[in-house]
């Protein structure tokens, strides 16, 4: 069985701040990390591998050369090998062009796969589009918001527990398929020093547009259907009153006054 995990490197959003004067992102000191939802997908793949040790796991990402670090993290966690789609011509890709390139890479160089796992969304873009787009391009079924899975019928079928608006449901489909993952362990796992050293000896393959034999006009910005035309800082709400609540009674009194003045009570 072969599992492909599609991952993305993202900036650590919690650290991103806006320069109040220029209204632009302050990028100094902001780290790049493996997207947390992608890390959940990796955990899920490794969970299957623990149950079925013969499973081969591959992490795949499209991004600049620096995105190697996110793949390295996957290898440290226990993924067997990694593929980085890296080419100037991939730059500026929207979700469609990204999905097309990843799907093309899967079709061309990792064709015999059984399962694709992806994070529910990336924390920098939050679009949640690439997963379903890949499944559509590859013509395989897809299940979103997976939180748990179980292989059945001699690994021909899969049952996925997924989050829905009112709770959870269990959905069954046949392999190969794509599952987007929305939950993982409460605490991020840590590798041993041995795993960190071993990861550096695993295969990390670099793949360019030429390797995929894709036309340049399908790639990156040229292949994108959407274009960003403007970037601007969000409107900032005016800060209200701040009250020192070290005295619980005074604070409760302040709250009831406020609620009553706004007619909530």
């Amino acid at each position: 069985m072969k599992i492909i995990v599609c991952v993305k490197q993202v900036p650590e959003i919690a650290d991103v701040q806006i320069d109040p004067e220029t209204g632009t992102l302050i990028r100094e000191g902001v780290d790049s990390i493996l997207n947390p939802f992608c890390e959940y997908a990796v955990e899920m793949a490794l969970g299957i591998k623990r149950q079925h040790p013969e499973t081969e796991t591959v992490a795949m990402s499209m991004g600049p050369f620096q995105a190697k670090a996110a793949l390295m993290r996957c290898l440290e966690m226990g993924i067997d090998r990694a593929v980085l789609l890296v080419d100037k011509r991939f730059a500026g890709a929207d979700t469609w062009a990204t999905a097309l390139t990843l799907a093309e890479a899967i079709r061309t160089i990792e064709s015999r796969f059984d399962l694709i796992l992806a994070g529910k969304q990336a924390i920098d873009g939050d679009t949640a589009q690439v997963g379903p787009e890949i499944s559509e391009i590859l013509g395989i079924p897809e299940i979103m918001y997976g939180v748990g899975l179980e292989l059945r019928n001699n690994k021909k079928k899969i049952r996925v527990t997924r989050e829905i608006e009112t709770g959870n449901e269990i959905v069954e489909t046949r392999l190969p398929c794509l599952i987007s993952v929305s939950k993982g362990p409460m605490i991020r796992s840590i590798s041993s020093f041995q795993e960190i050293l071993d990861a550096r000896n695993k295969e990390l393959r670099l793949v360019t547009a030429d390797d995929l034999a894709m036309d340049a006009h399908k790639l990156g910005l040229k292949g994108s259907f959407t274009q960003v035309v403007k970037i601007f800082p969000p409107r900032v709400k005016k800060q209200g009153e701040i009250f020192d609540g070290s005295d619980a009674h005074a604070a409760a009194h302040k709250l009831t006054d406020f609620l009553s003045s706004r007619r909530f009570i």
Binding site: D126, G167, N168, T226, P234, Q239, D244, S246
Partner: protein, 402 residues
Amino acid sequence: MLSVDRDKCTGCNICEKVCPFGAIVVIDGKAQVQDNCTLCGACVTSCPVGALSIERRQIPQDELDAFSGVFIWGECEQRAETLIPKKVVKELLSQGRLLADKLHQDLTVITLGDHRLTGLDSLFAHEADRVIRCQHKLLGRYEPDSFTLVISAIITKYMPAVFLFGATPNGRELAPRIAARLRLGLTADCTGLDINEDGQLVQTRPAFGGNIMASIVSPFTRPQMATVRPNVFPLAQPNKPKKRRIDDFQISLSKALFRTKVVATHRLEADGEASIEDADVIVSAGRGCQNKENLSLIQELAVALGGVVAGSRAIVELDWIPHTKQVGQSGLTVAPQLYIAIGISGAIQHLVGISSARTVIAINNDPDAPIFKVADLGIVGNALEILPVLIRDLKNRASAPK
């Protein structure tokens, strides 16, 4: 491609400073574009000498003009024994009306369902010009394969210029499936939609967790597709419907089409319990509440104020509350009249989810918590001490003679 006109470039460093991705570096007095450029265009608008430009593909106008009309997916939910359009559909109608009027085009809702499909009058009351209805016994519940197929077929037949989806869990699955099938541009989670002078849909959405806003167009593909989060656009008052035009779309479906099958469903919410998306008063808990047992205080306060309980991503991860009650970028966007955040520090992703709340009260013991920046009233203190007093005061008040 982002290109630099080296003759015009003065090496003033402004582009280097405004680039959100650090993709421009001034070397030897001239701007140079790095590999990580995403062509977002922030530099182009800020260059004082117009030395930067992005080459973008063009498509003949008459090809695009063949597409007309603003379409909305009329996602339905089950209520008792009926299927009725969700609230977000009406929110989309209010905004869709403005877009359709600017384009001088019609506003259409597509609804899929089985014989239980009803409530279409409410769509006309929210100013839909037309409803396209597709009824089939296999469309009784949302399923990605069949819905992708039907809506793709409708789009191909009717050729709308704009197609909007609610960014509900289903909408966020369905929209990219259709976009990929029909090779269309798609923008997720829009918070602003407008029509520019070229008649293009300008889709504005938060990026980087809400730290920055981006305006996006889909110049080459029609329809221009976007998803919009529930509770982002205000719900207009219903009017008395002027017209009522329903077109039935006929289709034959077979079970073989369905590749996924729901085996079991577990409701995590009690029957009839209001979704936090629809609540007027929300009392929301974060990690500052320290443990699951303390949520009883949150519950008590919610009851005293006639509201519901919600929470941050942190406590959903701790399994204190189900994901159906999670507020924020990876949860739900809420729009209550009153939002009380207790022990929530207010990560940017959380703040995005409450930007539609009318009044925000925050209680947190960290005076530097970002939640205070958006609070109408911020209490710096220990919520676990304040809440019992507050709940008692509220109860006394309620039982006191008027």
